[in-house]
Amino acid sequence: MDDIATDILRRTIRKIPVKKLQDTLKSWEHISTSQLETLDFSQPKWVFLENLRSLCEENDLNVKHVTELEMIYHIRNPNQGTWHACQLLEAEDEALSVELTQFREQFKAHLMEVMRHVSVKIKKHEDQAIWIRIAWGDNFNKPNQLKPTYVVHYLQTPYVFVSKLSSKHKPYLYQALVLSTRHSSIKDAHLSGSSLIALRDLLMRQYQQVFPTNQSRPLQERNALPSHPNIGKEHAELAEKRLQMACEAFGDGTVPKLETAVYRLETKYKGNGNDTLIDRDEPFKGVVQFTSTNLLESLRHCVASGMADAPVTPLLSSITQKGRNYFVITEKGPGAASQMTGRKI
């Protein structure tokens, strides 16, 4: 056990709640059951840590093993930091047949090719997700194990989720991903959030969706009738229609938990008064940001309760339709190069 290993061990153990310690250490599989029994989980963490460290030294564990523990912690607590979604494009014919061992070897090989010092750990999670932990170094320094990048990829899907990636390492990672998954390019999906599961559900459409129907009203029974026969709602039908439209746009039941939606405006100023702004040729730049603990739920409520106009504007509904929460809005028509990245309105 060197200093770095001890440091990672300490950081990881500190983050794990006492209740979950035993379970986590058991799934780590580097400390035997009999050794685990000697540990006292009710001790204060720093005493416990000392005991654990001596056990680790007894078993001759090193950085590699400790980072595994860190990975286990991250896999069990995926909602940490900010995850960014990326989308692989133009799958080649073999893309569908890529399996774990092949991916593991290729990914490591491609990354090692361009960087001498990099440590990669790949682990498969139960729900088909491949978790990749990358500690970056450069040609002269050893990998920095304290600031790893986490990447989650679902095999045979075009989606990759990345957390804590610096822009310096982005091209290397993208290249390795594209080559090892047999795609020809990768792009930023403009979707980010702290909940990995939510991003996955949104992109893979694993939430309860509602589709437009003409005749039947599946939501009718859920729309609680007035509790008393003497209370009559004049706008019951309208309210129902609004709820239907809200659910069509943002999904029914529990919706994926997004925190923000950002709209970067690069359009001309439209409005009354203020002649200096109207006459300007260059776009009026502004950022509109919606924030909430559960953004889609909030938007759905806004529409259902009539606070927002009922046929949902494509600006809001494209959060779920296109699976992104960052938009650049530019003027229609030819011109502006920024249209490349954004969505035209």
């Binding site: 003497n230 009559g232 709602k233 706008h235």
Partner: protein
């Protein structure tokens, strides 16, 4: 434009009908529950609406409306605007004691005083009473419901010796002269 009229339907025996109009649809449901559960002597029907005009489809099933209550939440500017546009769809026959304004959120410190003043001015110009209510506590809701009940009983003609016009002459909102200047 379909005007809501007060006298185009026959009244029913021992029945009072009240229409609550609120853009937010929060307070009106609470009020409605209290109103229908409290009154045992007569039959009180509550109609809930978001705005006027009311949908044409319901015109046949809708009873004769004895009292229209506009609920304005001063916290929202939109609430005030919605009320102002709804009023235009009301027949003038209602303004003889069959309209009442219910204001909530007046005590909230962040609310601009102008909004309350504009509701008061409107109520004064239409010769209607304006009530202030507390919508956060159950006692507040109950108190507001009871006041509405006593008004609707009069305007439905269920109280001998009192008429809606007589009551509104006594309870209508007035503005002090100095506020009326601007």
């Amino acid at each position: 434009m379909a005007l809501l009229t007060p006298f185009n339907k026959m009244p029913e025996l021992n029945t009072a009908n009240i229409l609550l109009v609120e853009n937010e649809e929060q307070f009106q449901t609470k009020l409605a529950d209290v109103i229908v559960n409290y009154e045992k002597q007569i039959n009180v029907n509550v109609r809930l609406a978001r705005k006027l005009p009311l949908p044409i489809e319901n015109a046949d099933t809708r009873p004769r409306i004895d009292l229209v209550v506009f609920i304005v939440n001063l916290i929202y500017e939109r609430s005030l605007q919605a009320m102002e546009s709804s009023i235009k769809h009301l027949d003038s026959g209602f303004f003889v004691g069959k309209v009442c304004f219910l204001v909530t959120g007046a005590r909230c410190g962040s609310v601009s005083h102008e909004r309350l003043l504009s509701v008061r001015k409107l109520a004064a110009s239409l010769h209607c009473p304006m009530l202030c209510a507390e919508d956060q506590t159950t006692e507040g809701v109950r108190a507001a419901a009871l006041r509405l009940l006593s008004i609707v009983k009069v305007s439905a003609g269920l109280v001998p010796t009192a008429t809606a016009l007589y009551l509104s002459a006594l309870t209508r909102c007035t503005l002090p002269a100095e506020l009326d200047q601007d």
